[in-house]
Amino acid sequence: MAPSTHRAPASDAGSTPAGSDPAASARRGPRSVPGHPLLGHPLLRRLLLAAAALAAVAAVTTATGPVTDLRVANAGLFLLAVAGLQVLVGTSGQVSLGHGAFMFVGAYTMALLVVNVPALPLAAGMAAACAAGCLAGLAVGAATARLHGPYLAGATLMLAVGLPAIALRFPDLLGGANGLGFSTIGAPPALAGLVDDTQWRAIVVWTVALIGLVVLATASGGRLGRHLRAVRDDPTAAALSGVPVGRVRVTAFVISAGAGSLAGACQAYVLGTATPSTYGLALSLVLLAALVLGGLGSLWGAFWAALAIVYVEVAGTELAHALELDTDVRNNLPVVFFGAVLIIVVLAWPRGVHGALSALGRHRSTPQQTGDS
């Protein structure tokens, strides 16, 4: 996370015409790292950061009630979902409107396992959901590797619209429009009295999300990440430099889908439900919009995005109810509120909340470097 933010200005600006020479950024990466003296440290630092974050979540959930636990868990799983999308959109430059479909895959994998194989440990269920998502990502990535821009967006849009309908096609297995409902295991008996079920679920979700984030950060910080950015900035130059463009694009899809699917599995585990209507087009669009709001290019952007998904919606709903508006207005106010926040943030800080914060940080330390746009 941190190392990529230092390099972010140069590589992120590459998506605008005024950016630096993309081939140069692709070349610079592979050469500088093999000689990196502290090779082991980024991973160690990420793991420590993740452990600290988990401790913070445990502390927050201890201090608050079950309803906050649920929101904290939601923030964790959306963080993972958006971080996966970040790798695809922000790092590899492929715009996907179908990320919700991968959450659908994960949620239904988890749901089917819990319903049909109740004895399967949770970790195995999560791993299976992740694997199912990666397979789905492989299929979608391979099918769309030659597409770019609006064509890719169109193809993934189809995924978001079409995939949840599978549940309607096989009502006996997938529960049709009603979806599947089930109970999942709560806190282990050894911890009874210490943590309650909702708090335990929040901690489990954050554990999964943080492991996922460490993997994503490691992947996008290393060699693969440089390949992804090279392909994003200029596919032709990347190909000329020996980067296997198609394979890198598919890899981005696989990683992103795995994270999305894991997030869906977490959601199924926390809520004890998987329904097709939850994973419709609206979810995919919210994930993408929140990513833009949080900031493209860094996993920190995903963090702000997750907070926005959980809390801006809550604030919008509460505002709508507090104002006691007409049903038609109240109906749409949370969406309008989210849209307004998005527009304001993007107008004021084109690189999202994280862009604004890191610009602020750079301004403090080295004022002369800020003029990158």
Partner: protein, 444 residues
């Protein structure tokens, strides 16, 4: 890609290690075990002067136009009761939380109601896809789950859900009555089904097939959320269905009526109770006609429609003591929308809860509320018996069929009762209390 194998293995090792740690000491994710029975001898949500109850309702979103009136109706009854001294001196605080008919939101708002607002009971949680996701939770937490607003069969399952008590006539019971009526009154007709493609359709078809297996020529399904029914109506016409039985929500009944009128297809439409509120249908038909830019009287489409009901229809007006009473309450405490049968649905739900709460005694506990439900044996405001005993808590146990003509309803099939299995259909014998017989309602 040529990747340094040691470096590539490192994240993998980290993941495996973490998963191994997670897996250690982890029992099956679906093995929730029996755990300790929730203590029912508590009066959570009851103070010296209030009783707090909750419900999840689609107040916004696609399902709101049809169903938001239910909580308006219920609130009107509670306001009336509160204004007249409450139940045993306690006022009823009714928290209708918006879930937008999204099961994910249902789970969230239900947890808020139980953990944060600490409701005494859940009363009238709306919808099968939504409520089915919280019924486990409510039973596990020991929260009485009264009168879900849905006709699914799963609410009547004392073994699995000991705290859940049904309200609405279930889809199989009502479609058995519809099926028998069609087979007797239209014995030579070819019959088509128009069904919602979820449990509504499945449970309804089971009842219809018991009587109409030989007459059925077409079965058409629609997805909830679909925008038009032209393919389904064309299919029914092509198979020559003279009678179309609809197990659809009002939106799709209206669409079916409009679409068949458009192509000049004139079968006898018969709907189950969920789509049979003619007041709501009139509103929908007017607004659809308005959108299409054509005028026209909704009655042109509605005349001749047969519907199944179990509560007194508002069209009965002053002929029914309960309709008269509820109209009075609604005029004083309700909203601006006209009183519809959907509103009455919510009002009767509230009346049934008030009766149960009164019977639960001076100092109600969750256990005494559950016990008190047994005393609801009489139908209350409904025209058919109401089951809420230990073995059968299916709620309203049958229905009657009416025919609509220019704002008037004519009873074409007297109230009947049946069960959800192969049992016979028998005339209903119901002992209806009058509003003034019920303490908290009589004080006014």
């Amino acid at each position: 890609m040529r990747t340094d194998p040691i470096r590539a293995a490192r994240p993998l090792a980290a993941v495996s290690l973490a998963l191994a740690v997670l897996a250690a000491g982890c029992t099956g994710a679906g093995q929730t075990g029996e755990g300790a029975e929730a203590d029912l001898d508590v009066s959570t949500g009851v103070t010296d002067d209030t009783v707090t109850i909750g419900a999840h309702m689609p107040l916004t979103g696609p399902a709101a136009p049809g169903y938001s009136q239910i909580s308006v109706g219920a609130q009107a009854v509670y306001d009336f009761v509160n204004a007249n001294g409450g139940v045993h001196g306690r006022t009823i605080e009714y928290l209708a939380e918006d879930d937008a008919y999204d099961p994910t939101r249902t789970v969230e708002v239900t947890r808020e109601l139980v953990h944060e607002d600490e409701v005494f009971a859940m009363v009238g949680g709306l919808g099968t896809p939504t409520h089915s996701k919280v019924v486990d939770f409510l039973n596990r937490e020991g929260v009485p789950d009264l009168f879900p607003s849905s006709g699914a069969l799963m609410w009547n399952d004392p073994e699995k859900y000991p705290l859940t008590y049904g309200y609405q006539v279930d889809y199989t019971k009502e479609s058995k009555i519809l099926g028998e009526y069609v087979s007797e009154e239209f014995e030579d007709a070819e019959v088509g089904y128009l069904l919602q493609n979820d449990d509504v359709g499945v449970d309804s078809q089971r009842g219809l097939d018991m009587y109409l297996q030989d007459q059925a020529v077409a079965v058409e399904h629609y997805e909830s959320g679909a925008e038009d029914l032209s393919a389904q109506i064309a299919g029914l016409e092509q198979e020559g269905a003279d009678v179309v039985v609809c197990a659809c929500i009002p939106n799709y009944v209206a669409l079916a009526l409009l679409e068949s009128a458009r192509i000049g297809y004139e079968p006898q439409f018969i709907t189950s109770s969920i789509g049979g509120d003619t007041v709501t249908l009139r509103g929908l038909l007017s607004s659809f006609a308005e959108q299409a830019g054509s005028g026209g009287d909704p009655d042109d489409f509605l005349n001749g429609l047969m519907t199944l009901g179990y509560l007194p229809p508002v069209e009965l007006g002053g002929d029914d003591p309960w309709v008269e009473f509820l109209r009075g309450v609604y005029d004083e405490y309700g909203g601006d929308a006209p009183l519809s049968n959907t509103t009455v649905y919510g009002m009767v739900q509230a009346v049934q809860f008030v009766r149960a709460l009164e019977a639960a005694g001076e100092d109600p506990t969750r256990a005494s509320l559950i016990e008190a439900l047994e005393s609801l044996e009489s139908g209350g405001p409904g025209l058919v018996p109401f089951s809420s005993t230990g073995e059968d808590r299916g709620g309203y146990a049958g229905g009657f069929i009416t025919r609509y003509e220019d704002g008037e309803l004519e009873m074409v099939r007297d109230p009947a009762v049946t069960d959800s299995a192969e049992g016979d259909i028998e005339p209903a014998e119901v002992d209806r209390p009058l509003p003034e017989d019920i303490g908290p309602l009589a004080q006014g």
